[in-house]
Subunit: 648 residues, 2 copies
């Protein structure tokens, strides 16, 4: 049974909430990024990525500049462009991208190799430092971009580049004598090769992906072997990437890893590939490993915003129930990778808890990482910010209190671009008999369910109100028989369904309301999903959330900002939720639902200036707590912010 | 009016609590340190400090090893030995120390200069990097050690070394053309020169100390000038000490500094010198500056344990009300420096709030920094420890969960040794008409008050019970007229006084109960200081302490340990203090008063494995919270510890 999310060209998002963001990607982010890649943005760190390719292609003289994985920025840009072109043709944009494809092809070495860092800066040292130098990671992004661009435009030149490179990699790596028995320090090639397999039907790509996964974490360590072979040199300032195997999930074979360890982005990229291979091969041990890692992340190591990776140093997971709000790293790319992982798990076993996490990461961390102008981004997404301490107390050195224009390591902005440009692929999933609706995002989708081609039209008032209408269009005169599986979000207690105006009691299976019937053209489903203000608590083992609550309404996590609540947010204690007032304020942050509730503010009137005192009863003043959606924070200047709030 | 704390030889501590610790210093710490300085302790970082001196003295061949301030370890050892010898002669110990004096004298250069780092490793570069290289800091410790040793033993050779060095420094630094108009990056010379002035009555030492204080923070920066003059080199890996002027309190003239900034030890050493100069000179602007910095520290930047300097990076203060418990740096030396500062402020203006802080730092952070065996030490003194996260989450990399044998930068253990060896100097203070009792520590003290020589005999049950007896001995047949000023500790509501068995209502002035009368030989004062279990709260602006309480009884801050309370200490919420039970347990930690009280433990029974949930009421199980004194933590293996505890 094949499961598909549908091609982007068949899914047209028309949504009062999301269309603006996707428009931003097309009109602002992609052109801005193009300028950045060409070093035409003043006062930001130079990229040099296009120029590196030009030099490698022999079109210019010069030397390499940038990170070892600088090429990947071009590949991710190309991938995002591909999704935009697939959704909506644009001749000018395609002309630019075609020129990039030509450049990439020209830069490719005769044998298929392509990596401007090694070609220009360390020729002869290719494949000598997989642990640190992202060589296969960069190849993976090139392959992902190539597959997406070929898929969107039919450009076979870029697919040929990808195949030629992958084939070359297949000669270099593998179990045979004379081949390198190794893998990359940063997972990415693994999921890219699955995409190439799906595009070409060439089994060898699937096998190579599987080979990389299976090699990972074997003893003795490949990292140590290659380290010794190259004379114990290391690329970065410290050699911890080589020494600390868990940093890149190479401390144990992947099937034996029970907890999420190390660099968060690497882990979720690896998990996405594991799920891909499990789906393609039916490997039950891989599926089990995926479930273990998934469960560890979401039940012990995930922020309420869908962010993961709590530690700035090493951009890493730490240990179960260690989720500090203010020193959080919570990298944007890691939440994007978590969405990749969730989407693949849904294909393996449709269960709304995967979609719930996907929605949580999307509406909160990923959306919150980009400013409303599309030109500023967060790399780090803390759940609590005290601007006065940032820049003073060095534990906050990684925290930015406002979004930044660009980054020296610019992985996050292009990742947001390619995710939002391909958002259509996360909404629906179909197989022979069922159409799943994972996300309530408006638009039209042409879907194949079994032999039936249908069009599903969705109108959604999310995230502000839980009203959704779905309309079925089918040419089949006798209708189309299939199950419509509608996700019941975790944030609602019950979901009311009308079919053509008549109440319907659906069976709920793994978090989806199932409606199996012969659907006729013009059938209409009305969903009413209650959106209450939820008072979230953290698991008792979480040290950070004790005595505190977080506010959620619909898919959105809320936060307090200084702008609305004054400084010293920690003095605000929320009280009863009974009288919580939810108001859509058109003039706030482009229009958001604001939540106000009774609160108390800890007073210092009964303090005489001492820092500590006994026999002082806490004195509270009545106050109002005003919450805004977390994703919208830091759009009104710098100020304190907090997701977790004390309660009385 | 001269104020004195009395000579150590006149103060004999005989105290059921403290005598053991002082005995440890004599029997264990000082011999252990001597072995360390001579590189005879296996498996710890070598010191080489004595050998550096031998090489400089021409007694051995070899090269310098260690920190630029390695000599100061020998000087601090000598100072601690001096205090021990002054308190109780020991011919063998004195013989060893005399040999060290001979060695130091032999290592001194003809012109008076003495610093083995520069003499052996960078001859010719003396005085070219005051900002980073601790040259005057090292000189200061030598002078302090010399004065103490001369005072204890009458050894004039070491005083001559000190004077010759100080005189040489006086030719190098000063306002005249051709002199260096600068100061040291690490304050210490300033307070040392005041001690040398008091020992010799030579005004020029006082003037030089004052010169260094007055130069500090002038614009353009001395650091920048010397940096440029030596060709922009820097000694340490990073040049931040040069760039970040506030790190060493050189960002503004000292009288303009309103808040405690930068490296905590440097700040309090500077403040101690400022107070010294204010006392000697009557400089009101300096006294005002001392008060400003004192108030900022104790009302905005001090932990409840008397620790200061919350940030590991740069060992620094951060900003007002930023006192994280778990990432605290809270260096032992900084609390010792705070005690130095407090003692000097007491001389300037007797006020119990200075003595309260002195007591707080002494009984909690300083005492807690040393193990009960006298061979293990904390450099960092956190208020909350989660051992599982240490070594995993790098924000805790500076935290040790158990005391260590020695340190590469071994500033703290010798500092504890010299403080405890001189503890007698912190108990009393006399002037023409008053005897102040700052600390309730048992023993006998021969004191001059005006023209009267008296002996004050103290018996104290602190810190376990608030019973204190003071006995007066005087040879004066008609008695001695003076005021006995007895500190009323901040932790008691009232102090009951009996004089010769008769209740006495004393006037309270600046926190001291004043008893002015003609004291006769054999007069006896009984103090009863109620020791209730205090429920401390933190100022409402402290983010860390919201919703939490700390337990204090007498001078001791208490904490929870995993050994007594099980893991996950954060789940324990204390309830009513009414039924708090205080029991002296002879078998716990060598005998401590343990506090037990009703508590609730947050249960996870109503959790289904999710990390976040709405509509979950917090469920509590009855529990008992067992508190031990903070100073005694981590003496029973590794485990969680917490000072601040949630309350219900």
């Amino acid at each position: 049974m094949s499961t598909t999310t549908g091609a982007l060209r068949d899914i047209r998002i028309q949504d009062s909430f999301w269309s603006d963001y996707i428009r931003l990607i097309r009109d602002v982010v992609i052109p801005y990024q193009w300028e950045a890649l060409n070093d035409r943005i003043p006062d930001v760190e130079p990229s040099h990525a296009i120029q590196n390719l030009r030099i490698a292609a022999g079109e210019e003289e010069g030397s390499f500049y940038g990170m070892v994985f600088q090429d990947s920025d071009v590949a991710k840009w190309l991938e995002a462009v591909a999704y935009l072109l697939e959704s909506e043709p644009d001749a000018e944009l395609q002309r630019m991208a075609d020129a990039v494809v030509d450049l990439i092809a020209k830069a490719q070495r005769e044998d298929g190799y392509l990596n401007t860092y090694y070609q220009l800066k360390e020729p002869g040292n290719e494949w000598t430092n997989l642990c640190e130098c992202h060589e296969l990671y960069t190849a993976g992004h090139l392959i992902e971009g190539a597959v997406a661009y070929w898929h969107a435009t039919g450009n076979t030149k870029i697919l040929d580049v990808a195949c030629k490179f992958a084939d070359y990699i297949g000669t270099v790596f593998g179990p045979e004598p004379g081949q390198i028995h190794g893998y990359d320090g940063h997972q990415e090639i693994e999921l890219a090769l699955v995409r190439l397999y799906r595009a070409t039907d060439e089994e060898r790509y699937l096998q190579l992906s599987r080979y990389f996964l299976d090699e990972r974490g074997r003893v003795p360590s490949f990292y140590d072997r290659e380290h010794e072979a190259r004379g114990h040199t290391h690329h970065w300032e410290s050699d911890f990437m080589i020494k600390k195997k868990s940093y890149s999930q190479a401390h144990a074979p992947i099937r034996e890893q029970q907890t999420a360890e190390g660099h968060a982005v690497r882990l979720v990229y690896m998990c996405a590939a594991m799920a891909d291979i499990a789906l393609e091969s039916g490997d039950a041990s891989l599926l089990k490993a995926c479930r273990n890692l998934w469960n560890n992340i979401v039940t012990k190591q995930m922020y309420v915003t869908g962010a993961i990776g709590g530690m700035a140093q090493e951009e890493s997971f730490t240990l179960d129930y260690d989720l500090p709000s203010d020193t959080a790293y919570a990298e944007t790319c890691a939440s994007i990778g978590l969405i990749f992982f969730a989407q693949r798990m849904l294909k393996l076993e449709p269960d709304s808890r995967y979609a719930d996490v996907m929605e949580r990461a999307l509406y909160n961390t990923v959306l919150g990482s980009m400013s409303r102008d599309g030109k500023h981004f967060f790399y780090v997404n803390p759940l609590e910010v005290w601007p006065k301490a940032c820049g003073v107390n060095h534990v906050y050195d990684h925290v930015k209190t406002v979004r930044q224009g660009w980054f020296g390591c610019a992985c996050c902005p292009p990742n947001v671009a390619r995710l939002l440009a391909s958002l259509g692929q996360y909404i629906y999933m179909t197989n022979d008999s069922t159409v799943y609706t994972h996300l309530y995002i408006g638009g039209e989708a042409d879907l194949m369910v079994g032999d039936n081609r249908i069009t599903l039209k969705q109108h959604s008032e999310l995230p502000w109100q839980g009203n959704v209408q779905l309309g079925i269009r089918t040419d089949a005169e006798k209708g189309a028989m299939f199950t419509l599986a509608l996700r019941v979000p975790s944030w609602c207690t019950s979901m009311h369904i009308l079919i053509n105006g008549v109440p319907y009691m659906a069976d709920i299976d793994n978090g989806y309301a199932l409606i199996r019937r012969t659907w006729m053209d013009g059938d209409r489903i009305d969903l009413s999903i209650p959106m209450e203000v939820l008072r979230l608590k953290g698991h008792p083992l979480l040290r950070e959330t004790g005595g505190k609550v977080a506010i959620q309404r619909g898919p959105l996590i809320y936060c307090l900002e200084e702008t609305d609540n004054g400084e010293h947010l920690h003095r605000l204690y929320v009280g009863s939720f009974q009288a919580a007032e939810t108001v859509f304020e058109q003039n706030v942050l482009g229009g958001v639902q604001v939540i106000r509730m009774e609160a108390s503010r800890l007073s210092d009137e009964n303090w005489n200036g001492e820092l500590y005192a006994s026999n002082v009863n806490s004195l509270f003043e009545p106050a109002t707590a005003t919450f805004i959606p977390y994703y919208a924070w830091a759009n009104r200047g710098e100020g304190e912010m907090a997701v977790w709030v004390r309660e009385r």
